[in-house]
């Protein structure tokens, strides 16, 4: 792994996004539009907006980054550019970290826009402040990127990659505590919720909403998010093969 190549890959991915105005707009505007819609839906009940709004900020970041990353990497596998890169002095980690850096930067902008809009314009009440909320949104986005990199290895076509969204992310959404608090879930599902990364993104935003101070629970949620991200990247690097059949 070399810094030069990692940076080249990150810059290239950002360059592709820079030319693709529509994707860029979708990544940045859609979470903002959704959170505004949610605010409107709950216009009669600001308590519910305060509870669900922050949780969804984490979810949006993860979902958007997951989709964009899995499609982009898949096209890199199918177009032959990955095969060519593997004949050049590029290490697997250069590739994975390059992607993580590029989409991490996008996640930062996305998280900042969505969280800023929620707190400063829509009046979302988070005791922990905008900073920690953006942090959690960014970590969720980077986690989405890591999972997208991993999952793209199991898709042969764009159609399959898109279907991984409902197959892989929606079940996590059902058990992550958004619909029913996790300790009220049936026992087995509660265990499942501890094993799925989205739960920690949602838990972390809840912590930020409820507490003005940084809590130990929040630290553990952040550690869990980072651990899933690193785990996803490591598994992803195991699925990247220089030699293919």
């Amino acid at each position: 792994m070399t810094g030069r190549i990692t940076a080249a890959i990150a810059a290239r991915v950002l360059g592709q996004l820079r030319h693709d105005h529509r994707t860029m707009a979708l990544m940045l505007v859609v979470p903002c539009a959704l959170i505004t819609l949610l605010w409107w839906v709950y216009s009669g009940n600001s308590d519910l907006f305060d509870t669900i709004g922050p949780q969804l900020l984490g979810v949006f970041g993860l979902v958007v980054m997951f989709l964009v990353t899995s499609i982009t990497t898949l096209s890199e596998r199918t177009s032959g550019t990955l095969e060519r890169l593997f004949t050049l002095p590029m290490g697997k980690l250069d590739f994975l970290l390059g992607y993580a850096l590029a989409f991490g930067a996008v996640a930062l902008v996305q998280g900042f826009l969505a969280a800023g809009l929620s707190v400063w314009v829509l009046g979302l009440d988070v005791r922990g402040g905008v900073g920690p909320l953006v942090l959690v949104a960014v970590l969720s986005g980077v986690l989405g990127t890591a999972l997208g990199l991993l999952v793209s290895a199991f898709a042969a076509t764009e159609f399959q990659a898109v279907q991984f969204m409902p197959a892989f992310v929606l079940p996590q959404l059902l058990v992550c505590g958004l619909l029913v608090p996790r300790d009220e879930l049936p026992q087995v599902l509660e265990w499942v919720s501890y094993a799925t990364p989205l739960s920690y993104a949602v838990d972390a935003t809840t912590e930020v909403t409820l507490h003005a101070q940084w809590t130990t629970a929040l630290t553990w949620d952040v550690v869990a998010l980072l651990a899933f991200t690193v785990g996803g990247l490591l598994l992803g690097s195991a699925t990247l093969r220089r030699r293919t059949p």
Partner: protein, 241 residues
């Protein structure tokens, strides 16, 4: 020509299985240094598979492939071998210059080299055009330009002239000849038999086996034919008889 120079590529008893089928069965051949070697054979004969084995991205079931004296795919070869995949491996969402610049950054060569290779493949005036807006032949030249970056000792080109007009084809073959005269070794696959005349050596492939390994003149003499296509058919008849 009795010099015992290290061959650019030496393939020994290569076995490749793809999709449960033996695609290359015990193939041995060499690519001589500083020459243009044409890899010819019908569609499905295993040209791309052999090329992928040489650049080290094909999982192989057996045999040995050595490139510039090193095992194929070894890290020291990665800035010494230029590879052009059969379908252009480029990013349609970037401009021509951005594509080539990216590969230059990965290779660690200077950005001035980007202008040079774009000039060589006659794409300088398209530098700021999005690759997604180019024709198939233009895209494959973007792909070729990236492979010429730096100072590769071996160029492995999988059907680089497909979809090009005759004028451009002649220009590219002139370029290949110029590169070979600088001591660069080239392995160029094609299924257009008339390109064989521009090669110094030929490898004829059929069903994953080597039908002949010879110079164009040697091949014509041996088969008593006057073009490579006829020689190819004669060799098939010979094999069937």
């Amino acid at each position: 020509m009795a010099r015992t120079e290290l061959p650019a590529v030496a393939v020994e008893q290569l076995h490749v299985v793809r999709g449960g089928r033996v695609v290359i069965a015990g193939l041995s051949c060499t690519v001589r240094s500083g020459r243009i070697t044409g890899l010819l054979g019908p569609s499905g004969s295993g040209k791309s598979t052999l090329i992928r084995a040489i650049v080290g991205v094909q999982a192989v079931a057996g045999g040995a492939v050595r490139v510039l004296g090193e095992p194929a795919g070894s890290p020291v070869l990665r800035d010494r071998v230029g590879y052009v995949t059969q379908s252009p491996s480029v990013y349609p969402g970037l401009t021509v210059a951005e594509n080539v610049r990216f590969f230059a950054c990965v290779l660690g060569v200077s950005l001035q080299d980007v202008d040079r290779v774009l000039e060589v493949v006659d794409l300088a005036r398209y530098a700021d055009t999005m690759v997604g807006r180019l024709s198939g032949g233009e895209r494959s030249r973007v792909s070729l330009a990236s492979a010429l970056l730096g100072s590769p000792r071996l160029l492995v080109l999988d059907e680089p002239t497909v979809g090009l007009d005759p004028v451009l084809r002649v220009r590219l073959w002139d370029l290949f000849a110029a590169l070979a005269s600088e001591g660069i070794s080239l392995l160029v696959s094609s299924h257009v038999m008339d390109e064989a005349e521009r090669c110094d050596d030929l490898l004829l492939l059929r069903d994953g086996a080597l039908l002949a390994e010879d110079t164009p003149a040697g091949l014509l003499e041996r088969t008593g034919t006057d073009d490579v296509e006829a020689a190819f058919l004669a060799l098939i008849d010979e094999g069937a008889a």
